[in-house]
Symmetry: C2
C-alpha cells in the first residue's frame, strides 16, 4: 500500500509540509496549487526537494470550474489549463485533479461536459499529464461519482479517469457498490476522509469537519474494500479539511494522519481476510492491570488512598515506587521523578497477547516507551499515548507477573478484610485540549482496541464539556475522554473504583477522616423531584454527599474525593445493569469542583 496526503491537511508552508510528510513516512503528497503559489520556492525547487525526501507528487490540484461552460469561458479555461500544465511540468507532477464544476457550469448536458473534458485531456497529453475527474458532493450538475464515470466514458481518452473521494460519496449516502462497475484502469486516484455524522450543509461539513479515518462515523473499511476489490492499485491518499489540523503542529499531524491510514488498511485487510497484509490482531483489554501516579512526594495521595480503604501493597525492591491495592484495583505510586504535584502517568492493561499488542502498535506508528528495568523485573511492552500517558500491556495477571517485585505487603487480617476497600477500576477519565482530542480517539481505537460510545455535551460553569466514552464491548475497560473548553485551565484526571457497596465504602472512608466533595442541598431536592426516592435513602445520600442516577437498567451511586495534585478519585457502585456514568449529575459535580470542568 502506497500512502499519500493532500498538502491542505497540514499547517504551515509547503516546505514544512513536505518535511513533515517525509518524516512521518508518507510515500507521496498531493499538492494544492494554493500551497505552491504561496511558496517562495520555485516549482523546480519543490520538485528537487520532494526527490531528496523520497516523496512522489501524486496529484496536483490547480483549478476548479472547468467543464460544461459556454464557449468563451471554455477558451479561457483552456488558456488557464495550459499555464497550469506548464507549472506541473516544472514540478514533475503528472496527474491533475479536476473537480466537477460548482460555479460556472451552464449546461447539464453530459456530452458537452465530456467534449470539453476530452479537449482538456488532449491538451494534458501534450504534457504527459493524466486527468482524474472527481464529482464534488455539491457539484452543480455532477455530484455523484457514477455521473463522473459516465462523463469519463463519454470522453474516452486514455489519460482520463476518475478520482474517488470517500467524503463526497458517503456524505451523500451514495452506495459504494457502484465502484465495482468502473473499469479498474480508470480508477486513477483515491482520496480518503472520515467525518462525524452532521445535519449540516455538505459544503460546510466538508470544508471544516472532515477527520482522519477512524475518527468519524463513516464506514471507511467497507468503502475501501469496494475500491480495492474494484481493482484500484494507486496510493491511499488523505484529503482532510479540518479547522483544527490546519493550525496545529505539522509534524504531529502528519504522524497522526499516517497512523489513521495504517489502521484503516489493516482493518480493511482483516475484514476481507487478506491475511498476508494484516498487522497483528487487535488485543482488546480484558481488565485494567494498574494505574500509575507520579510525583516527587506522593504522601498526600497515599493518605487519600488509605482513607478510601486501599491497603499497602509493598515497596518495589529496586525503585522509589510503592503499590496500593483495593482488591483488583492497583495503584502504583512512582516517586522517581522530581516534579511536584501528582499526575496520572501510566496505565496497564491485561490483554491476550501483550507482544502482539506492542507489535501492532509499533506497526501503526505509536511511539514506543523505554523504561529502565532491572534484572528480574518483569518486562511489560509499552507505548506513549498522544497526551504522554504510558500504556503497558500484560498477558498475565499481576499476581502471575510483576506483583512479587513489591516487598513488605501488608496482608489483610480478618478484621481489615472486612473494612478494606475491595473493587476494580471501573473507568479512567482524562481531559484533552481540543487540538488533541481526535488524535486521542484514533489512538484509543487503533492501538488500544476500544470502541467509541456516542458523545454528549455536559454544561459546566466554564463552558460545555464534550464527553466521549471509549470502552470494550463487555465494559471491563472504559476510558472517559473529555474535550475541555479552550479557555479552561489544564484539567485533573480521575480514577473510578467500582465496589459492591458504595454507601458502606463512603461511611468507612468518612470514619477514616476523608472529606468528600460536598454536594449542594438543592441537588438532593432535585433528586427527590426526579425520582421520588425513599426518604431514608435520600437522607443517606444527602448525609454522605453521594451522587445518584437511575435509568431503566438500574441505578448508580458514587462519590468523589477532592483533587490532590492533578488527580482525584471516585468510588462507584452499579446496581442492576446500569451502564452509564451519572451524566445527569455531572453539571452539579462540575459546578462543585469549579477548579475546572472535570467530568
Amino acid at each position: 500500500m502506497r500512502t499519500s496526503i493532500a498538502s491542505v491537511c497540514l499547517s504551515g508552508g509547503l516546505v514544512e509540509k513536505l518535511h513533515a510528510c517525509a518524516e512521518a513516512g508518507f510515500d507521496g503528497i498531493e499538492i494544492m496549487d494554493a500551497d505552491l503559489i504561496a511558496a517562495y520556492e520555485s516549482p523546480e525547487e519543490i520538485r528537487a526537494l520532494c526527490h531528496r525526501l523520497g516523496l512522489t507528487i501524486d496529484l496536483f490540484q490547480p483549478f476548479r470550474d472547468f467543464e460544461a461552460v459556454d464557449e468563451a469561458t471554455f477558451a479561457d479555461n483552456m488558456r488557464r489549463a495550459r499555464a497550469k500544465f506548464e507549472v506541473m511540468q516544472r514540478l514533475g507532477a503528472d496527474m491533475m485533479l479536476l473537480c466537477s464544476n460548482v460555479a460556472t457550469a451552464t449546461t447539464p448536458d453530459f456530452d458537452i461536459a465530456a467534449t470539453q473534458i476530452g479537449a482538456l485531456a488532449d491538451l494534458a497529453a501534450e504534457y504527459g499529464i493524466d486527468i482524474a475527474y472527481e464529482a464534488l458532493a455539491w457539484g452543480r450538475y455532477v455530484s455523484d461519482y457514477r455521473d463522473a464515470w459516465d462523463i469519463v466514458q463519454r470522453a474516452d481518452r486514455a489519460n482520463l479517469g476518475v478520482c474517488l473521494d470517500s467524503f463526497h460519496i458517503l456524505s451523500r449516502g451514495h452506495d459504494p457498490a457502484g465502484i465495482a462497475e468502473i473499469d479498474p484502469d480508470k480508477l486513477f486516484f483515491l482520496q480518503l476522509a472520515d467525518a462525524p455524522r452532521m445535519d449540516l450543509d455538505v459544503l460546510s461539513w466538508s470544508r471544516h469537519h472532515r477527520l482522519f479515518p477512524g475518527e468519524g462515523d463513516f464506514d471507511l473499511i467497507d468503502f475501501l474494500s469496494h475500491v480495492i476489490l474494484a481493482g484500484y492499485r494507486g496510493p491511499l491518499s488523505l484529503e482532510v479539511f479540518n479547522d483544527t489540523f490546519r493550525q496545529t503542529d505539522v509534524t504531529r499531524t502528519a504522524a497522526h494522519a499516517l497512523r489513521s491510514l495504517h489502521w484503516l488498511y489493516d482493518r480493511t485487510a482483516a475484514q476481507n481476510d487478506w491475511t498476508d497484509l494484516q498487522l497483528d490482531a487487535p488485543q482488546p483489554p480484558c481488565a485494567i492491570d494498574f494505574v500509575e501516579v507520579s510525583g516527587e512526594d506522593l504522601s498526600a495521595v497515599e493518605r487519600t488512598l488509605s482513607q478510601l480503604g486501599f491497603t499497602f501493597g509493598g515497596r518495589h525492591r529496586t525503585k522509589a515506587v510503592r503499590l496500593w491495592e483495593a482488591g483488583d484495583a492497583r495503584v502504583i505510586l512512582n516517586e522517581q521523578v522530581r516534579t511536584p504535584g501528582s499526575r496520572l502517568v501510566g496505565l496497564g492493561f491485561e490483554v491476550g497477547d501483550a507482544a502482539a499488542a506492542a507489535r501492532r502498535a509499533h506497526a501503526i506508528g505509536a511511539p514506543q516507551v523505554f523504561r529502565r528495568t532491572y534484572a528480574g523485573d518483569y518486562e511489560l511492552p509499552a507505548v506513549a499515548s498522544p497526551d504522554g500517558t504510558e500504556v503497558y500491556w500484560n498477558s498475565r495477571t499481576a499476581a502471575e507477573s510483576w506483583l512479587d517485585e513489591f516487598e513488605g505487603r501488608v496482608p489483610l487480617g480478618e478484621d481489615t478484610a472486612e473494612t478494606a476497600l475491595h473493587g476494580v477500576i471501573d473507568h479512567l477519565n482524562v481531559a484533552y485540549p481540543w487540538q488533541e482530542f481526535d488524535e486521542a480517539v484514533l489512538f484509543n481505537t487503533s492501538v488500544l482496541a476500544l470502541d467509541a460510545e456516542p458523545a454528549s455535551d455536559v454544561p459546566g460553569p466554564r463552558g460545555l464539556v464534550r464527553s466521549q466514552v471509549m470502552r470494550t464491548a463487555d465494559g471491563a475497560v472504559r476510558l472517559a475522554m473529555n474535550l475541555a473548553p479552550p479557555t479552561a485551565p489544564e484539567l485533573p484526571r480521575h480514577v473510578a473504583i467500582r465496589v459492591d457497596d458504595a454507601v458502606s465504602a463512603a461511611r468507612r472512608a468518612r470514619a477514616r477522616g476523608l472529606a468528600f466533595l460536598p454536594m449542594p442541598s438543592n441537588y438532593y431536592d432535585d433528586l427527590d423531584a426526579r425520582f421520588g426516592l425513599e426518604p431514608d435513602f435520600l437522607a443517606e445520600l444527602r448525609e454522605l454527599n453521594l451522587l445518584y442516577d437511575r435509568d431503566e437498567q438500574g441505578s448508580f451511586i458514587h462519590f468523589y474525593t477532592p483533587t490532590i495534585g492533578d488527580i482525584f478519585w471516585e468510588v462507584v457502585e452499579r446496581r442492576g445493569t446500569y451502564d452509564g456514568y451519572g451524566a445527569a449529575s455531572a453539571p452539579v459535580r462540575l459546578a462543585a469542583q469549579r477548579g475546572g470542568p472535570l467530568l
Copy 2:
C-alpha cells in the same frame, strides 16, 4: 422596557451570574433549574440576593417533556411539577416556562395536551404560579407557536399563556405576523435570540450558535415590532445558548448582552416611529478623521510613514504627540505612553452630530473614554470599543477643528507636492480573539452605525481566518474584522491608504528605501494564469512586489509594508468600481507574513 436574561447565557455559578446581571443593569433574570440545583445557596438565599440586587425572577424553567403523555407518565409529571412549584414558592418565582414535549409525547391530539396542561395550570394556581407554554422548534407534535397558542386556548385557564422565542419561530421560517392573532393578555413572556443563518439541524443550531440581537442574520427588529404591536408588555428577555458566552467572563458578557437589547429596542422604536422611545439617531461616519498609534518610541513608524510619502504635520503644542499626513489620511503618533512597540489605539470618525453619537453610545452602554485635554484643545467625545481601541467623533473636519493644535507643519512645496503620498484611509484591519468577535460586531453595528458584509474564510498557514468587513453603504468607512484561529499569537493591525496611483506610490516608496513585503514568484505566475495580464504590466507587478485582483467591477492594486511593532501599512488603488479587498491574494500574503494570519 424591562430587560431580563436567562441564566444559561452566562458562565459561572448562579450567584456570580446574578451579580453580573445586576451590575450590567438588567431588571430581571430567568433562572434555569440546573443553575439552582448546582448552587450551594438555598432558594430562599437566592430570592433574598435577587431582592437586594434589585433583580426580579421573571421566569423559572424547571423541567421539560410534560404534556401529551400516557396516564402513568402524566401522574409522575404532576408529582415532579408539585415538587418544583414548592421550589418556586421558596424562590419567589411566579412564572414557569413549559417547553413543548420533545421526548415523551405519545399523542398528537391537542385536546389531550390541553387537558394535561390545564391540570398543570390548576395545580400551579394553588401556588400562585403562571405557566408560559412555548413551542420548541424541534417539539415532537408542537413546534409552531400558533399550535402552542391553539393548545393554550383549548386549555383556557387564567394562569396559562404563551411564551414566544424568536429563535424557535424564525429558525423554522414561521411568519411572526400571526402573533397579532394572540390575545395580548395571553402573551406571557418573550425570549429573544439572534443566530447566523446555517444549514444545520435546528437543535444543534439552537444549542450552540445563538447570538445576541444584532450579531446574527435574523430580522429581530421586524419580529419585536410584531410582538409589541400585538400588545406584549412584559420584559424583553435574552435566551442565548452559545458555546463562547458559556465560557467567557460573566460580567463582560452581561454588559454586552444588555447593549444588544438597547440596540434592538431602539431600532424597533425607530422603525415604528415610536419617537419618544428612541435614542439619538445613529451617526454613520462619513470619513475617517484620523488614526492614532501609541508607543514610547515611534521613530520606526515615523520612518516608514516618511518612506511611504507621508509628510510631517506638526507637533502637538502641549503633548508628546506628532501628526503625519498623506492628503486626507492623518496618522497621530502618541508617545505619551511607556509601552514598547507601536499599537493602533485610536480612531476618529467624521459624523454629522458628534454629541448625538456619544449620547447614543452612552445610552447603549458603551464605556466612555476620559482623555485629558488642555485649555484650547478641541474636545472630541469618545468611547472604548470592546478591544480597547478608542473611537472619537468629530462633527467638523480636522482643518476646522483640531488640526491647528499641531505646530511646525511642513507645507508641501511644488516639488514635494508631486511626490508626496496623497490619499485617504481606505480601511482599517483589526483581528480579534474568537471570544471577542461577536461583541465587536455588535459594537460596530450599534455604536458605530456600520453594516456587515457577508463573512468569508481565508486559509492561512496557521489556520483559517474569518474575515468580516463592516462598512458604511458608500464605502467611505470600512473596518475589516478578522477572527484569528485560537492558537495564533496576538495579531498586528493594519491601516490601508487609498491612492490614485499605487504603482507610482510604490516606485517612490522604494526609491526612499522602503522594503515591501516580498511576494513569491509563483504568485505572479498564477496571476498570469488567472488573468492573462499584459507582459509589461505583469513584469511591473513582479518587480515592485505588488498584489493584484480583478473582478467584473474593476481591479485592485496594493502592497504592504513589513510589520513594525503591532502595526503595518498597506497602500491600495481601486480601479473602476472594484469594491473588494483582494481576498484571492490574502492566503499568499498571510503565508508571506507568517508571523501570524494578518488579513
